[in-house]
């Protein structure tokens, strides 16, 4: 865990309280981010391994949208091409939006709650727990599905929540919900679970490719059922997080000050961590471990719109969705008709950005 040592450092708060840089009006920035998401989604729908005529794609979508009203749009796609669009490409794009939005907004929330710019949604053991759950089921589960749901997503979901639960439990035993203690507890839990995952993986080399594919993140086998599966959790979690923007701004001044301003830091931290972890666990369940989105997107948003969490959270949602759709687009197209794991693409974009962030931060000091 190369980032572990960096995380323990009491990071400089880029999350300076709200009113620091209201350079552009909220409306303008939100509209721009919304447009970016729409453009990304359109690009994601239009471009893929199978070329589809853009006009007929629009007509097909219009036909689907208007179908319930008895309107029949002519010139739509038929047969295999329609199946490719409606059953393969569309759910994938939608899932990319959901996963990207969930990871980005969770990352922003974690950064706020820990007052640490290096925090990401996997900080408290969610990734390691999900990885262990997925690895165990890939290697040892006798069944592939439990009812209509795949066993690996279920195990990943449970593992992610288990990891966070362990970190919270250890943190509270070790000294309450005080942020540095919790952070250290998270690192300890993550390291332990990751080691356990590695052990299981090494004992089951015949499953390595599958495990590896899961660990690096993938959207290739997205289905509508995945979307239906995660949407409720993501909806609730994101709604809770979006309501916490103001409180996170207050928390940014410090626990004591926040307390005197009527925000209970311990309770807020717990609520935000639980909501963000739920969103992360849902995302991880359907897509594996996609790195860097949760870390990078909130920082992009801060550069554009300032540090107030009333802006960072909703904008991260939009930009995160757009970012992941575009990353997935690159993953699908660059070697088409072969695919690149999406985790490679996000890290390829994310890692240099991360380096730049550190460099720029050091220069400013």
């Amino acid at each position: 865990m190369s980032t572990a040592t960096q995380r323990t450092r009491p990071g400089r708060t880029t999350a300076e309280p709200g009113a620091v840089r209201p350079r552009r009006s909220t409306l303008v920035v939100t509209t721009a981010a919304g447009l970016a998401l729409v453009v990304a989604v359109l690009a994601g729908i239009w471009v893929g391994a199978v070329p589809l005529a853009p006009g007929r794609v629009v007509l097909t979508l219009a036909d689907r949208a208007l179908g319930p009203f008895g309107v029949d749009v002519p010139g739509r796609l038929e047969g295999t091409q329609a199946a490719v669009l409606l059953q393969l490409r569309l759910p994938r794009v939608v899932l990319a939006v959901l996963v990207g939005a969930a990871l980005a907004v969770s990352g922003a929330a974690y950064q706020g709650v820990f007052r640490n710019p290096l925090a990401d949604p996997y900080l408290l053991g969610a990734a390691a727990g999900a990885g262990l759950g997925a690895t165990l089921t890939i290697a040892h589960s006798p069944v592939q599905t439990l009812g209509p749901v795949g066993i690996v997503p279920l195990a990943a979901f449970a593992g992610a929540l288990f990891g966070v639960f362990c970190a919270l439990a250890l943190g509270s035993v070790a000294g309450g919900a005080h942020s540095p203690t919790l952070l250290l507890a998270g690192i300890a839990v993550a390291a332990f679970l990751a080691a356990a995952q590695n052990l299981v993986q090494q004992q089951n080399t015949d499953d390595l490719r599958q495990i590896y594919g899961w660990m690096i993140g993938q959207l290739g086998s997205s289905q509508w059922s995945d979307v239906v599966l995660v949407l409720p959790y993501l909806g609730v979690a994101c709604a809770v997080l979006l309501c916490c923007g103001r409180a996170l701004d207050v928390l940014a001044v410090g626990d004591d000050e926040a307390g005197s301003l009527g925000v209970h830091p311990g309770r807020l931290r717990l609520l935000v961590i639980l909501a963000a972890s739920l969103a992360t666990a849902s995302a991880v369940a359907v897509s594996g471990l996609i790195g860097f989105v949760g870390l990078v997107v909130p920082h992009i948003v801060r550069r554009l719109a300032g540090g107030s969490y009333t802006r960072v959270l909703p904008l991260s949602l939009l930009v995160g969705g757009a970012f992941l759709v575009l990353a997935d687009l690159i993953a699908r197209v660059i070697l088409a008709p072969a695919e690149l794991p999406i985790g490679v693409v996000t890290a390829f974009v994310g890692a240099p950005f991360f380096a730049l962030l550190i460099w720029a931060g050091a220069r400013r000091r």
Binding site: A49, T80, A83, G131, Q202, Q210, G220, A347
Partner: protein, 325 residues
Amino acid sequence: MSGSLPRAARSTSRAPRRSAVALPALLTALLLTLTACGDSTEDDGDGAASSSEAADFPVTLTADNGEVTIEEQPAAIISMSPTATETLFAIGAGDQVEAVDDNSNYPAEAPITDLSAFTPNAEAIVAYEPDLVVLSDDQNGIVDALGSLDVPVLLLESAEDLDDAYAQMELLGEATGHADEAADVVADVRDRIEAAVDSVPADAAGQKVFHELGPELYSADSSTFIGSIYSLLGLENIADGAPDASGGYPQLSAEYVVEQAPDLIVLADTKCCDQSAATVAQRPAFDAVPAVVDGRVVEADDDVASRWGPRIADFAETVAEVLQG
């Protein structure tokens, strides 16, 4: 004894995320040669026959690790390659095999151990006091490590085509004193594959095949060993549409597979991932694929399809049979 040895060579650099971003295609290709799972009960090896002639030794052979001299007929062979294990038993050298790695699950009488070919440990191997070690991959510098301990090592990397595979079978025959049986096995495999190719009806030529290595739609193009079998059978491999950069084992887009409308789907992920004709039919948009509609989804044995031993003839016959029907 060996079971309690620590797997000291275990890689510690495999952090589960972020560091795992490099060269997925390369790793995939590597894993594919190591991937083999499940178990088999069928058995056509005969360990009884023996044409061993001590006069054939010492013998000097050229393997993928260069020239190797074997002084005497080996009596304690360790096979760290599932393919080599199958071959050794098929050519009647089974009695000389002391231990095989944890993926060598065929034939049933192979002395399977928990030796790992993926994280090989020279100490654990040497503990068996082998007089010959056969490997398919030089993981963690194992060839040099064994060489420095004066253990003869044959590195037989994954074959690129049938001729390669035949050459490896013959080489193992010479290395173990079973050259004649090896020649017989090669002739038999050769005949059966030729018969399978001849049995394919003319109108099946040019049909499209999709070879599936995992439900994530990893495939194998014509440059791979298994791909060369499809070429022999006159099939068009849809994985060839992927750029060379994807390394022979591309992960194909689901939409591409559907659009290519393969006439034949061969599942080499029935054991690892519980895939079947039924699970394929349930995938989104696959219900229109001709192979699914016409019931031409072959549920192959993962192990047979990922190795390059004598059982490749079984595989060719299975595929040819479906093409006839």
